[in-house]
């Protein structure tokens, strides 16, 4: 049992054209910038990307969009401090958008990971985001039926990881990452440090290794927000 991968390139080597890819993070917090850039180097096309946002500036998911790799975004908030990459393509009709309320997005991903094909939520009832979806009444209140979300791959940023794939996260960089680990057929994780099995207290494991397929160490990960503020662009 050794899920560690020697390089970023090796870690993303199976992600091909047409794949559905969940990408962790909320804005820059928990965004796996190094894995995303390795994926851009690899260059698969026609991807469906699931993330809370839709990229910022000229790095990360925005750089994927700039590179023409993304056919469709599934997200709750395709805006950021510099949303040009997505906005330009969206207004030109060159990228599809499935807009999902943030809590519904989180729950759909969890449902995908938990083997729950559909669930009911009050969120979006009576709004345009519920159009076409089945409505049911429970105990006198109306709810929208939402379906699970799954992916071929998840690209995740964590803090510590071991060869079993057990993970911890840094502060609010947890966000969507543990859920996406559960919902992808193959989960690829960059961690700040690979530790020995047993070094993470079993009580403190946030993502158990069963949800993880590959772990690669990026010891000084870059923070999207800092790169944006420094005006960095993906070369």
């Amino acid at each position: 049992m050794n899920k560690t991968s020697q390089s970023l390139a090796a870690a993303v080597s199976e992600i091909g054209d047409g794949a559905t890819v969940m990408i962790g993070g909320f804005g820059g917090s928990g965004a796996p910038i190094e894995l995303i850039h390795a994926l851009i180097s690899r260059g698969p096309k026609d991807l469906t990307v699931i993330n809370n946002n839709a990229g910022n500036g000229r790095i990360g998911i925005a750089a994927m969009i700039d590179a023409g790799m993304v056919r469709k975004m599934i997200c709750s908030f395709p805006k950021s401090s510099d949303p040009r990459a997505f906005t330009d393509k969206y207004l030109a009709g060159e990228i599809e958008l499935e807009l999902v309320p943030q809590g519904t997005l989180a729950e759909r991903i969890r449902a995908g990971g938990a083997g729950i094909p559909a669930f009911y939520t009050p969120t979006a009832y009576g709004t345009e985001l519920a159009e076409g979806k089945p409505i049911s009444e429970f105990d006198g209140r109306h709810y929208v039926q939402e379906r699970w979300l799954k992916a071929d791959f998840a690209i995740i940023k964590a803090h510590l990881g071991d060869r079993h794939g057990n993970l911890t996260y840094n502060k609010a960089a947890r966000n969507f990452n543990p859920l996406m680990c559960m919902a992808a057929a193959s989960t690829i994780v960059q961690v700040s440090r690979i530790v020995e099995a047993g070094e993470i207290d079993p009580e403190h494991v946030v993502t158990p290794g069963i949800f993880v397929d590959r772990v690669v160490e990026v010891s000084q990960p870059r923070q999207e927000e800092e790169l944006i503020r420094a005006g960095v662009t993906y070369a």
Binding site: F26, S76, S81, L91, G103, T127, A172, Q223
Partner: protein
Amino acid sequence: MTSIAQEEIKLTNAQIAWRAAQDIVDGAYVNLGIGFPEMVARYQPPGREAIFHTENGILDFGEAPKPGEEDWDLINAGKKAVTLKPGASFFHHADSFAMVRGGHLDVAILGALQVAQSGDLANWRVGSKGVPAVGGAMDLVHGAKQVFVITEHVTKNGEPKLVEKCTFPLTGVACVTRVYTSHAVIDIVERRFVLREKLAALSVEELQSMTGAPLHIEGSVADLIVPEV
């Protein structure tokens, strides 16, 4: 008459936020929407401890750190850097929205484009142009025990924001419980606007003329008194 009242007699945003803050009880779990609602945190009455929740997975965060001391893994839903208070906790997005949807928050405070007398809220999109973005607003309006709106009473063009029926795309149906405006405090009770407080300098008739649906009065209407803040 109305235009003079609007321009000269009204609360500032800070004052609206202050007034809303007075209704947050000690120990309440509160989510403040991105932007204007975040201002409410500044005006917590002394001696009361509210616990602030942010959708991206923190309970009990505090003020912004000093410039240069930001940790960009420690942000709120508006992607602003925050700090932690003793007793804080981290959790993932599904647990975070379990708190929201499951009715565990006491209060959510949001901005509005329009609020209807039925409690319908429109606050995420003006029309069908541009890039739509919804975030957590549609989740927040369901689940919190009380959903407060803070808003100007009318738009910059003088049009009512409190209306019979929203014309902008809805965020949620029958979800708002109370509205704090630049001119009044209004509850939504059984699909009606019930006036609770108004600026003393304004008559009920003047306020009604700025409001797009009937204002009902049950018992007395208090003066809306807010300090300079």
